[in-house]
Symmetry: C2
């Protein structure tokens, strides 16, 4: 259970980590549980068109997680950006085949942060020492 004193940034980063844990452990049940049920969801896998609606999104994860050739994935340099009941995380996904950069959007649904959107696309590298940037520092 997420503690009541956990900051919202930390709670959204926790939800983001749960996504990559479900991805890397091929846990379809956990993957299903972390996507929103009330809000409509969308997902853009690298090179794919946008998937719209829970059925299409979960069907894609079923195919990806059950495919033995799917890559292992590790998440790096997550930074959460909070806007009330909506938050998004930018992070890097390291795979054997290369590096992706992702936008993951979450909403609070019955007190829990749920994923509503994921887009990952190719990038060249994971920036060094990128994790200590605080979005609040840039507010003017």
């Amino acid at each position: 259970m997420i503690g009541g004193n956990m900051s919202e940034h930390a709670a959204v980063n926790f939800a983001n980590e749960a996504f990559y844990l479900a991805f890397s452990t091929r846990d379809l049940e956990a993957m299903d549980a972390l996507w929103a049920r009330q809000a409509p969801v969308t997902c853009i896998h690298p090179g794919w068109s946008a998937l719209k609606g829970r059925d299409a999104v979960m069907e894609s994860w079923q195919a990806i997680l059950s495919n033995p050739n799917s890559p292992a994935v590790d998440c790096r340099n997550s930074v959460a950006h909070m806007f009330g009941d909506v938050g998004y995380v930018i992070c890097y996904e390291t795979l054997d085949q290369g590096i992706l950069v992702a936008t993951n959007i979450f909403v609070r649904e019955e007190g829990t942060w749920k994923m509503i959107h994921h887009q990952a696309g190719a990038t060249e590298s994971v920036p060094e020492e990128d994790g200590d940037w605080d979005p609040a520092d840039t507010v003017q």
Copy 2:
């Protein structure tokens, strides 16, 4: 001016169209005006690392919009997803060099929808008849 009776979906789609108009007309001033000033902003151009903060994001647009070799861009199949004072648009960008799919996130800032994040990445094609999907239809 945006009329008071314009739906929030339409207002966010309007802001999204303003982004592509600024992009395609190489209008740096318009581009600068449509990014948020209070909220921190981020931007992921295709193949790039994530840019963080207004200075880095606007510097990238200055470089892109002033480069005569930058591609012309056209926006297709925009669908807005609203969550209170946050909205995101998924759309396709058609360029001479290929097709991109984008996630554009907006927040309401002093009554106007401003961009806070853009990610575009390669995709294969623009789906046919994709624009009439209504996110609200999928709410369970």
